[in-house]
Point group: C2
Chain length 458, copies 2
Amino acid sequence: MSDLPADLAAALAARFGEGFTTAAAARAQHAHGESHHRGPPPDGVVFARSTEEVAALLSLCAAFRVPVIPFGAGSSLEGHLIAVRGGISLDLTRMDAILRVSPGDLDCTVQAGVTRERLNADLRDQGLFFPIDPGADATLGGMTATRASGTNAVRYGTMRENVLALTVVLADGRIIRTGSRARKSSAGYDLTRLFVGSEGTLGVIAEITLRLHGIPSRISAALCSFPDVVQAVEAAMAIIQHGIPVARMELMDRGLIAAVNRHARLDLPLRDTLAFEFHGSPASVAEQVELAGGIVREFGGEDFAWAASPEERNRLWKARHQAYHAVVGQRPGAKGWTSDVCVPVSELAGSVLHARALLEGCPVPAAILGHVGDGNFHVVFAVDPDSPEEMEAVARINSSMVRRAVEVGGTCTGEHGVGLGKAAYLREEMGEAVEVMARLKKALDPEGILNPGKIFDL
Amino acid sequence: MSDLPADLAAALAARFGEGFTTAAAARAQHAHGESHHRGPPPDGVVFARSTEEVAALLSLCAAFRVPVIPFGAGSSLEGHLIAVRGGISLDLTRMDAILRVSPGDLDCTVQAGVTRERLNADLRDQGLFFPIDPGADATLGGMTATRASGTNAVRYGTMRENVLALTVVLADGRIIRTGSRARKSSAGYDLTRLFVGSEGTLGVIAEITLRLHGIPSRISAALCSFPDVVQAVEAAMAIIQHGIPVARMELMDRGLIAAVNRHARLDLPLRDTLAFEFHGSPASVAEQVELAGGIVREFGGEDFAWAASPEERNRLWKARHQAYHAVVGQRPGAKGWTSDVCVPVSELAGSVLHARALLEGCPVPAAILGHVGDGNFHVVFAVDPDSPEEMEAVARINSSMVRRAVEVGGTCTGEHGVGLGKAAYLREEMGEAVEVMARLKKALDPEGILNPGKIFDL
């Protein structure tokens, strides 16, 4: 049963009509993301259609001190969507309008519920694309809230670099605009970057102004097999250090290749592999390929195996984007648990080797993949969340990876966010800076109604 | 006379010895930046040598509720350094150690008082450089505090994109670290970006971890003359829209060329000009030059006039960096006043044309220059600050430019910061978002001792 105050439920029904529900099925659907994290469902779900509706919801919830948890594609990996203190799940997927595209300025504005694939389908005819691509077809609101990145970040940056401005609804229902359409600005505090990555805890992101990029005239993708994972990583490091502007450079270890082959019906060679994509003019791509080819050979890499057609290339990256499901799906009933450390590039080989050693004793299927150009890699585990032994074993491996990452100057989360899963590590990584974050939270959400219990527990 | 509480003065003398002074000459030297802004000098000056000394100063000043104004190279253009409520000028120029350079990770950590030229001199032998280059040889602390950029931002971004992490001393003297050395992170609020651009009002930036870049194997610079300024801007817009990765693309109008010729003893053609620099491999530079050359010809641009040697190239950019002094120096006794709007690229030609029309009736020498690839341009005025008529006329032109920039989706300041000079415009541009900034300020500096009166007046 829903624990909403009756007066609030009545007010929500009056304001949102069929856009408000306390039905068990809807609440269950909005109770979790993709991963192993579990918790109570929300007390109700509101489907907003506009920034003004988001503002109306927040005003009402503020009056009743009832939590609000923003919800997009539901692809969170760190428990962001769990209603740990009850409240309303604010589903933004009906806010799916692309409000403006300005090819001359290489920017656009979208509502928070637009997904990345939807946006790119819309942009294609104009010769433009938006590069940030987490595995899931996430909403741009969710991607902004978690400071997401993906396979293109090595060349194009993350949401941090590609959001120009936001429309945000504050805890009291006020609506602000955090920036302008200027490519750069020194006009006061960088509120845009403060809300990017704030995981719904400082305000609800309603509209997003994004930087776009021209589709390069030449795109070429290739796989390169290595004798082992460390040589693959060392080759990737050398490519970065040589300043070759690769667009994608993804590590897939042998185990991942096996899972992906099965899941996507491919027959990639069962070797530790780097998957590359090169963007640019024909001359620039040719030069990048020559330089990168020389480097991979030095580290024992084989000749590039080229994707022969755009279709084959798309199939390759689609398989890569489904890696999480490929690993988890190997084991019926299993849930996913993903590590997400990011370290200075020079520490990457050591960190992957350390992870590999930890996996020797791992009782569940696991595979390594990574955005190695950024120093970010994941181990995906397929766990049985009802097995305390398995959960503990994976937690131990994950902890050990995080501690090592922090020791060498890295971070506990490169792109998935803190949510519930990394909250315990944030203080280890950030020390007293967590107090500063808590003060900011208190300043913008004094009643603590915005996605409470995430990032840190006040 | 200094208005410092006697007990604080005694404590500072005991703690800092000769690093603390209330001498009139030192106070006068720390009373202002480069521009026309004037105000009272600080009550005293402290020269800090370490993060711990900064922390000690802030603890003492917090106890006495005495303001602290961080001071670097003194090259502020918006009145950031003026002690509007008295207090201590914290001179960071003795914190000039380059603490670490990691070529393999393309990053380094410096103390806040290191200047950009000093850092680049140190990096050159390792084949690395730090691209952000405001006109002055500013300190990296000051550049971080104002979210500075300069001529390379079109390719390499601004301080926003090139600061990885900071060591910050808070208002109460506590020391925090805002990030890690990972290239990307989703670990909580982006404190690094919050302090970048906070102009000393949220904390004192003591150490900075910066992204570095490899010196490109080919660097070529050229000038291109245009029939008029609008065609030059339209050519620049088209180059951006075509995605050509120019490293520098600077507008210098006829008036600026005249001033620069005089100041730097050059004989550049007296035409509205774009100055280019191309970075990359030889093949990539050749391709960029061919593409850009085709575009400038479409807009009436002449053939590129190439800098024949590295020395000539350096002389050209040095002259460009001294543009401010070249304009102001035309008129003995004058001070500089610089506008700093930044607009969406598609609005640039219209905005420059608007500025040009406003300058028709301008009573003082003025010239237009701009980082046109970013949509950012300046008008530099050489004013007599003692002439109310001149100051009013320039203020009127500047206001009109700012209002138009905000109307078309731009910002009042692309790179110089708010300080005192843009505070009146911040609300026009940001609306209620300024209240959010004020709440953050109050959360981190409840007593209001950190550079009070800057950005906004609480």
